[in-house]
């Protein structure tokens, strides 16, 4: 079989090898020999190589390790199963790393980020906080506009230690503070869209970690 069907991913210090299921052990060993040894590229380099486990037994795995060790004994070899892997492609680009902002937002101040947003501080009346993903406020939201899922994601949520904004938006759904009374939060709260409406509930860890 051709080398090109064995896919290599990663950086110089951490490689992931994806052999196809039908690969034979000699083929794999030949691949390492050809790719790694002949190029001299890995000589003296300390790195880690993880190989997608195609159901080899322990002896076969040792054999693979030995082959690679012969090329460079500094290389650490491991195996992983498909279910262990989080493929980066499944995470939308904009949801990668949350933005963390350590300050309070006062009237007239605005922030808009593509992904998730964590604010360590308060959100005051007249401020605007927008994010493409979830918004977590480690502080009080005592007014202002808080818009999660600003690019249309109605699964986005808004968490705050106290959640009483002037207006809440999730995706294209809009909720506003009651006219006649001031909403006072009672501990950590979460806002999400349920049946097309924004609902604010007391935060409970149960069921939150998912999705």
């Amino acid at each position: 079989m051709a080398d090109k069907e064995i896919v290599i991913k990663g950086s110089l210090h951490q490689l992931k090898i994806y052999p196809p299921p039908e690969v034979t052990l000699p083929e794999l060993k030949a691949f390492f020999g050809k790719k790694f040894e002949s190029s001299g590229f890995f000589r003296g380099v300390r790195c880690r190589i993880d190989i997608l486990d195609q159901g080899w037994n322990r002896r076969e795995k040792e054999d693979i390790k030995k082959t690679i060790g012969a090329i460079n004994e500094l290389i650490e070899v491991g195996f992983f199963r498909p279910e262990d892997e989080l493929t980066p492609r499944e995470i939308p680009e904009l949801r990668k790393a949350p933005e963390v902002i350590k300050k309070s937002f006062r009237s007239g101040q605005k922030v808009a980020v593509l992904g998730d947003l964590i604010i360590v501080g308060d959100v005051n009346p007249g401020a605007e906080v927008l994010a493409g993903g979830d918004i977590v406020v480690f502080g009080k939201v005592v007014g202002g506009l808080v818009h999660a899922g600003a690019e249309g994601d109605e699964k986005a949520r808004i968490f705050a230690l106290e959640l009483a904004p002037t207006q809440l938006r999730i995706g294209k759904v809009l909720g506003r503070a009651p006219d006649d009374r001031v909403r006072r939060g009672t501990g950590p709260e979460v806002a999400r869209v349920k049946k097309g409406r924004i609902v604010i509930e007391n935060y409970s860890a149960r069921g939150e970690g998912r999705n």
Binding site: S107, G108, Q109, E128, L145, Q167, R176
Partner: protein
């Protein structure tokens, strides 16, 4: 074609926004269709005073930058359907609007509504210029303080330069007891300095603070004297010739009348 009136002062904190909200509400109660335009970009308040902040989706900057239509940005008042608010943007600044854009916008509103009341920002810079550019009339709000009157005088000059002749003045926060003692600037002194027509006087009133904080313009309170003052101002704007301030305190009314020379 409706009439656009700018409400301005030069000095901050004299009650422009409260005055705009109350005159607007009073005109709506009189059956007129009214749009309040908050021209104080970056320091918007009119929506809060009207109790409509939580309804804002689009603002005046969105309109001029064509992110929405005018009717999408207009917020209907929760008490009076004839009254609408075009809110300012809070997270932008005065440079977000250009005079030409404001002029066109006000012109468009005039085609549909009887009155367009423009709440001007304090100061004499860009924001003020934006606020007056589309107006046909101007109302100056001042208080019986030397500094406020000085700024009002400056504004009258700038309004004239901007083509707004014959502005009228509202003297806000008159305190009867102080006027009686002679501790407050005399209304006729002020009128003499400013040399423009008096549109109304509004007594100082703690209830204003309460109503402002609650987002309920005081004209809605039929028992309030301050509310009555604003209702009278609205009727004068409508062209009625009303005597100044029926405060219910004969002595004070007499004194005012004497001061402005109508009795």
């Amino acid at each position: 074609m409706g009439k656009a009136i700018v409400i301005t002062s030069g000095k901050g904190g004299v009650g422009k926004t409260t005055t705009t909200a109350n005159i607007g509400m009073a005109l709506a109660i009189l059956g007129r269709s009214v749009v309040l335009v908050d021209a104080d970009i970056g320091l918007r308040n009119l929506d809060v005073v009207m109790g409509l902040e939580n309804r804002i989706v689009y603002d005046v900057v969105d309109v001029v930058e064509e992110r929405c239509r005018i009717d999408q940005a207009l917020i209907k008042d929760k008490r009076h359907r004839n009254l609408l608010l075009l809110p300012a943007a809070q997270t932008r600044d005065k440079s977000a609007l250009k005079q030409e854009q404001v002029k066109d916008l006000i012109q468009e509103l005039r085609e549909e509504f009887d009155y367009i009341l423009i709440d001007s920002p304090a100061g004499i810079e860009q924001g003020f210029k934006n606020a007056i550019v589309g107006a046909q009339e101007a109302v100056i709000v001042t208080t019986p303080e030397v500094s406020a009157v000085r700024d009002a005088d400056r504004i009258i000059g700038m309004l004239e330069a901007g083509g707004l002749k014959d502005p009228r003045v509202i003297i806000n926060r008159i305190r009867q007891d102080m006027v009686r003692r002679g501790d407050m600037m005399d209304i006729d002194d002020m009128i003499e300095i400013l040399a423009i027509d008096l549109l109304g006087i509004v007594p100082d009133d703690e209830d204003i603070i309460v109503s402002t904080n609650k987002g309920e313009p005081i004209v809605l309170n039929s028992k309030s004297r301050t509310g009555e003052a604003f209702r009278n101002i609205a009727r004068r704007i409508e062209g009625e010739d009303l005597p100044l301030m029926n405060t219910g305190r004969e002595k004070f009314v007499q004194r005012i009348k004497r001061m402005i020379g109508i009795s």
